[in-house]
Amino acid sequence: MSFVVKAIFNTLHKIDHERDRSVIFKGIILTSCAKINGERTIQSIYHLLTGKRSIQTVLDAHLYGLDHLYGIHRQLSLQSFNKIVADLMRNHYIRTSHEDKVYLLTDRGKKWLATHKKKLKLSSFQGFTYNRMDSIFYARLILFIQVLANQRMQHTAYIPVVDQPSITNWVKKTYKYLYPNLDRPVHELYRELHQILSTLSNLEADLFVNRLTGYKQVGLSIQQLAQMYQMSGEDIQLVLMRIIHQMISIIYTSPSDYQMMSLMLRDLTKINLLTNSANETYKLFKKGYNLQQIATIRQLKMNTIQDHIVEIALYDQTIPIDQFVSDQAKTEIIQAIHQVNSTKLKTIKQHVGEKISYFQIRLVLTRYIR
């Protein structure tokens, strides 16, 4: 059938590979492998990048100094993840250690990482700190730009680039708040974008602007950007996220310089970013109900409510955990952590008394972050 096509594309594919389109993705996996150093499975890196809301993932992120990479690619499919791991194996950047499912860097991997480290700019990521607010900020920003560009041309018949109600409602509200005097905000947002993009590399600014949709100018899809910049789709996604994190960090540092963009971040506190279900639990908890009562009211299992409490404690360091863990239990858990020199839940559990539950260990561990 299409042998010729296949032959041509096999060659093309080879060239692609040599050019290495996934430098950042690769760098992130290698960095994570290096830091974890065989103490966790390869899946834990997938959980890290997709930002799994489990205490073990969050703890590990901090323990291994990878919290800046937490949740930086939430759409990452397990398939693409497995593919790049297989690629890295085949090309001898990583190897598995004997019987375990753990992966270690080879000398080749170490060398590659050392030469590319600077270029990757991984320290610009602030995954845990900006977790979830990053994508909300970005969605608000690109929709707002589209709305302003179209309204300036008095054009109303367009398809919004974002259609999640939480985002569109925010944009509607803000638009109404700024209306009818829109000229100033448009110019202000333009000035801010220009200024903030100037702090990035030319390629980054270029890529960011090419993705934007305005009036009769539709932004480029991830695949189109990938083609244009000779990068993989994964790397495009990661560069975009890195840019967003850099932006948020700059806005936080000098909010008075970025009034419009600060507006897009203002209400995005950590606690607002809890899962809906955890938020429901939190509301009842604040009203003074105990966990058993909450479980009954919400018709959920006790375990689920406990998961919510751990999630809340993770984001809100001020909530008191004393009512769930006595001082004595706390001391015992902390001693166990030091003794076994590990934060693996199972290992800790084996070293503490029967009476101490997983729930209590997880709660104490939330206080170990930062």
Binding site: A157, L189, Y190, H194, Y215
Partner: protein, 518 residues
């Protein structure tokens, strides 16, 4: 009469709500009949504005209009486009919505004047119970040829529609299709049990499209011909492929070779956001060429597509007519080019194989069912579980499920075991499967016969669907002396200017043209 008053408003709503100034052939006639309360079967060619025939009444009539549409992605796109036009009280209900979203919509159903539904979701009792509580004034069946067992795209769920319509108090029905021959038309009317349905049949031939079939030695020559063709003519172009990976590969190749052309690919595997971006770029003249599968095109009203190339041909003439019909909606001279190499039929042939269960597969399903029956069990509720248990793909299972149901072996999840009856039923299903296979095979043969035809291609293409056709407005076809030398289309360049710096682009995007000149 309330409806007389409505009819006087047709033109006003057309211009106000849809920003159109005149009806296209057939639209007003169909709408008028619907407003009188009649049932209508409308056969209108691709690109003739079929959807307006129900969107306008939906806006005009009190209560709600229901549209059954077989493709979820198309449904979602249509809703987005309608909302962009200011038609806000419209919604698509399909399996992609999560539990919470669905609940929210159900609680508020009567607030929508237009509801798109997939035929599968219409089988759910919960949704039906909500639908029976609202005031439904029009029931629309899009792609109505899916109702015919002998149509080219039979969807078993479509056969159940008449009982749904009964439950909804028998509102007037509009059945729409672009390609339905007389047998299929009769089937539609029969299955909906509305013998008095008024037929509005419009010719589907396009006098402004010329048909050109090019026979080539091998894949190499095909690629070469394609590249030469699209590099010679800079016009909005669609290139159809059978497989997703080919759209990506060839798009990549064309983009590399033709640096001044904007090329993109499109197929059902892209996520909804990127799909929409590509469509919009094409509509906005930001792209020259789209390499696509059959997933592209429906619901897109770009009127200046000049060239539709089939790198692979579809498995029946009906699909070919629909895909070609995306060219020249504005009436301008357009060309359909089919690139053919020997053995090209292998791919559509394999598609047919994948659609129907083999004898062994049917036997295995019977075996599994009897096992379940012996243990007094039902069949699993979830599709993945069934597929895992029965070891066949989803298309094949849908086909078999329908057959088993009509043989009274299955009723919902319930299995009715009767050894003697099952033996006969097995034979019956086997025969049906064979007939269906033969039918599909014949369809493919017709397509091939058309490609190899030595007489007028235009005449041959439409012969099965209508008795005559309009004489060509420009060139006719390969066999009537088509020559590229006689085709000088107006060059349509994309709006993308020479590459700008990001600073220039940002300024243009946010502050617009007038600021640029300063």
């Amino acid at each position: 009469m309330i409806n007389l008053r409505l009819m006087n408003q047709l033109e006003t709503v057309l211009s106000k709500q849809f920003n159109l100034h005149a009806f296209r052939p057939g639209q007003k006639e169909i709408i008028t009949d619907l407003l009188k309360g009649n049932d209508v079967l409308g056969i209108l060619p691709t690109g003739s504005g079929k959807s307006l025939c129900y969107q306008l009444p939906a806006k005009l009539l009190p209560g709600t209009t229901i549209v059954v549409s077989p493709l979820i992605s198309l449904m979602i796109d249509q809703v987005k486009q309608l909302r962009a036009k200011g038609f806000k009280d419209v919604i698509a209900i399909n399996s992609l919505l999560d539990f919470k979203q669905r609940k929210g919509i159900y609680a508020n159903l009567s607030a929508y004047s237009l509801i798109y539904l997939s035929p599968e979701i219409l089988q759910q009792d919960e949704l039906l119970s909500y639908l029976t509580k609202i005031d439904i004034r029009l029931f629309v069946i899009d792609e109505a040829h899916c109702i015919s067992q002998w149509g080219h795209e039979f969807r078993p769920d479509y056969l159940r529609l008449h009982s749904v319509i009964e439950m909804l108090n028998n509102p007037p029905i509009l059945a729409l299709s672009a390609t339905a021959n007389e047998d299929v038309q009769a089937d539609i009317i029969h299955a909906l049990k509305r013998p008095k349905m008024i037929k509005h049949i419009y010719p589907i031939d396009k006098p402004n499209i010329a048909f050109h079939v090019v026979r080539l030695q091998d894949e190499d020559e095909k690629l070469h011909t394609l590249t030469k063709l699209v590099s010679t003519y800079r016009v909005p172009t669609l290139i159809y492929f059978s497989r997703r990976e080919d759209t990506e590969n060839i798009a990549h190749r064309l983009a590399t070779q033709l640096v001044d052309r904007k090329v993109a690919f499109y197929h059902g595997g892209l996520d909804a956001f990127d799909r929409l971006m590509i469509q919009q770029q094409f509509m906005n003249d930001q792209l020259d060429i789209i390499c696509c599968t059959s997933a592209f095109g429906m619901g897109i009203d770009k009127d200046n597509v000049r060239l539709v190339i089939h790198y692979h041909f579809p498995a029946q003439l009906e699909s070919f007519i629909q895909e070609v019909g995306r060219a020249g909606r504005d009436g301008g001279e357009s060309i359909s080019v089919l690139l053919y190499t020997e053995n090209d039929e292998i791919v559509p042939q394999s598609f047919i194989q994948q659609e129907l269960p083999t004898k062994q597969e049917i036997a295995y399903v019977f075996h599994q069912l009897s096992q379940l029956a012996k243990e007094n069990k039902q069949i699993p509720r979830s599709l993945p579980e069934i597929i895992n248990l029965m070891q066949i793909n989803e298309t094949k299972w849908r086909y078999l499920y329908f057959q088993l149901e009509s043989q009274h072996i299955l009723a919902n999840q319930q299995i009715n075991y009767d050894a003697d009856h099952w033996q006969r039923a097995f034979q019956h299903i086997l025969e049906h499967r064979h007939a269906r296979f033969q039918y599909k095979q014949n369809k493919l043969n017709e397509m091939l016969k058309w490609i190899h035809s030595t007489t007028c291609l235009r005449e041959k293409l439409y012969a099965e669907f209508q008795s005559s056709f309009q004489s060509p407005a420009f060139q006719c076809c390969t066999n009537c002396g088509f020559s590229f030398a006689n085709w000088q289309p107006v060059e349509q360049s994309t709006t993308s200017q020479p590459i700008k710096t990001w600073q220039e682009q940002l300024k243009l995007l946010m502050l617009g043209e007038q600021h640029e000149s300063k």
